[in-house]
């Protein structure tokens, strides 16, 4: 992966963490830097639940113009900050961010 691609991914990870911390009450006590890229967002990891998953779907629409059509697709994509960020990098319209 070239460095500009990697830089873009880093920026996306930062934005994702910021959005998660600002919008999900489960994470409001954390700073963005305290969320590791590869920790599980749901269940035993950071403890997000199904309503948080729907919230993330709306955040993707609002801030990255991405639609998740099927929540089963969402399950894998939302596993960690890293998987979510890579998905955004691959799917966000290039003029939309």
């Amino acid at each position: 992966m070239n460095s500009s691609h990697e830089n873009e991914l880093t920026e996306i990870r930062q934005k994702v963490k910021q959005l998660l911390v600002s919008n999900l009450s489960q994470l409001e006590m954390l700073g963005p830097s305290e969320i590791k890229d590869d920790v599980a967002l749901f269940g035993e990891g950071l403890g997000l639940d199904s309503l948080d998953a729907l919230e993330i779907v709306v955040l993707l629409k609002k801030h990255f113009k991405i639609e998740i059509k099927d929540m089963n697709e969402g399950r894998e994509v939302f596993a960690t900050v890293d998987s979510l960020s890579r998905f955004i990098q691959m799917n966000a319209p290039k003029d939309g961010n």
């Binding site: 639940d49 199904s50 309503l51 729907l54 779907v57 709306v58 929540m71």
Partner: protein, 388 residues
């Protein structure tokens, strides 16, 4: 103490009166279509009360107008329309939209300018259902508008039953109403439970609910009132209970403990065993979670041969009106001796141990159960008796 139902008013997409409603049920006709009451980008069929135009209050107070129209029908049915004025009665109504200041234009203008016209505010201040009904009928007495999401209509009936049992009044008007409104349309869409096609309660391929609008009103009377008036009752509200999951804001408790408690409590209140129930009008919203939890509980309590259906395939999910409309449908079914097929159900979900009826089904016996479940973990059950 017995609580009698002497009047019904039922307005929904299925019909503006009982005759039209029964025609829709018998024919299996599903009167849903694209939303016409407001503009929206969301694609989801809606069950509008098309042609409804009975305006007692300004037209914009659609929920109150629906409620009042159904109330007048129930009073007419009970032969109380003239007699009721100036009397002491209870009014308990359930709603969701009918109590909300949600005018988008007001908000837009206020955000921009720090001020906005008061028209929508003035309408909102006139729109409380129970107060509006008391005011229109010039009656006095206990007055509660229940805002308990999707169980509000059933809860309102339960409130009226409590009042009658406590002797706070001898007559009560109880039910629920909700208009089709953009804000819940968007909100249910955000929660991922709005289907883009006609809903399929309990079906393997169910994708969510359709929203509807309407009003269901029951006229309830105490034994003393019945003796005085010598009116023939249409039904008896035999039992009621309601419970809370204490689990999650929007998802039902997957164990079904809450709805099971409500149903069991209603049967105890009714002094009946489960095998006395002839059929069940289930909440059956056609969401993945609701139908799974509810059907499993019905199976646990009533076995695999119980006749049940959801009428939401005919009227959509009417939110605050649902519990009351569906109690009314139980009364119609007991009187007529049949229940319609569960519109929208085609294929069994193997995770669900029972299947609803798929066509018009004769029923025998005198007792029906109506269940309601709602946001906030609310669960309610009503046992309705058809008198001998």
């Amino acid at each position: 103490m017995k609580i009698y139902v002497t009047g019904l008013g039922l307005i929904s997409a299925a019909g503006e009166n009982e005759k039209e409603t029964l025609t829709s049920f018998e024919s299996g006709k599903r009167r849903a279509g694209p939303v016409s009451l407001f503009s929206t980008q969301i694609q989801s069929p809606a069950y509008e009360a098309k042609g409804f135009s009975r305006h007692y209050f300004p037209e914009q107070l659609r929920t109150l107008n629906l409620c009042l129209a159904a109330t007048e029908d129930a009073l007419d049915d009970a032969s109380l329309k003239e007699e009721i004025r100036g009397k002491r009665i209870g009014v308990a109504m359930g709603t969701t939209v009918g109590s909300v200041l949600n005018d988008i234009n007001f908000n837009m203008e206020f955000r921009e300018k720090g001020s906005a016209p008061m028209d929508s505010v003035n309408l909102y201040l006139e729109g409380n259902l129970s107060s509006g009904i008391h005011s229109f009928l010039q009656t006095e007495g206990p007055s509660i508008t229940v805002v308990n999401a999707c169980v509000s209509g059933a809860n309102a009936i339960g409130v009226a039953m409590s009042w009658l049992r406590s002797g706070l009044c001898d007559i009560a008007i109880a039910g629920g109403a909700d208009e089709l409104n953009k804000v819940p349309f968007c909100g249910f869409g955000a929660l991922g439970i709005l289907s883009d096609s006609l809903c399929s309660p309990f079906d393997l391929n169910r994708k969510g609910l359709n929203l509807g609008e309407g009003a269901g009103v029951l006229l309830l009377e105490s034994e003393q009132s019945m003796e005085r008036r010598k009116k023939k009752p249409r039904a008896i509200m035999r039992g009621y209970d309601f419970s809370n999951d204490a689990h999650h804001l929007t998802s039902p408790d997957p164990s079904g403990a809450g709805i099971e408690r409500a149903i069991t409590g209603a049967l105890i209140d009714a002094r009946l065993e489960p095998d006395a129930i002839s059929f069940i009008n289930a909440h059956g919203t056609a969401t993945i979670d609701n139908d799974l939890v509810e059907a499993r509980v019905l199976h646990n309590l009533f076995g695999s041969t119980i006749a049940f259906l959801s009428t939401k395939g005919y009227i959509g999910h009417t939110l605050g009106a649902a519990g009351a409309l569906e109690a009314g449908f139980c009364i119609l079914a007991l009187e007529q001796g049949w229940i319609p097929g569960c519109a929208g159900f085609k294929k069994l979900d193997l995770n669900i141990p029972i299947a609803p009826v798929t066509q018009k089904t004769q029923i025998e016996g005198h007792f029906a159960l109506s269940t309601s479940m709602g946001f906030g973990g609310c669960d309610a059950a009503l046992v309705i008796e058809f008198p001998e």
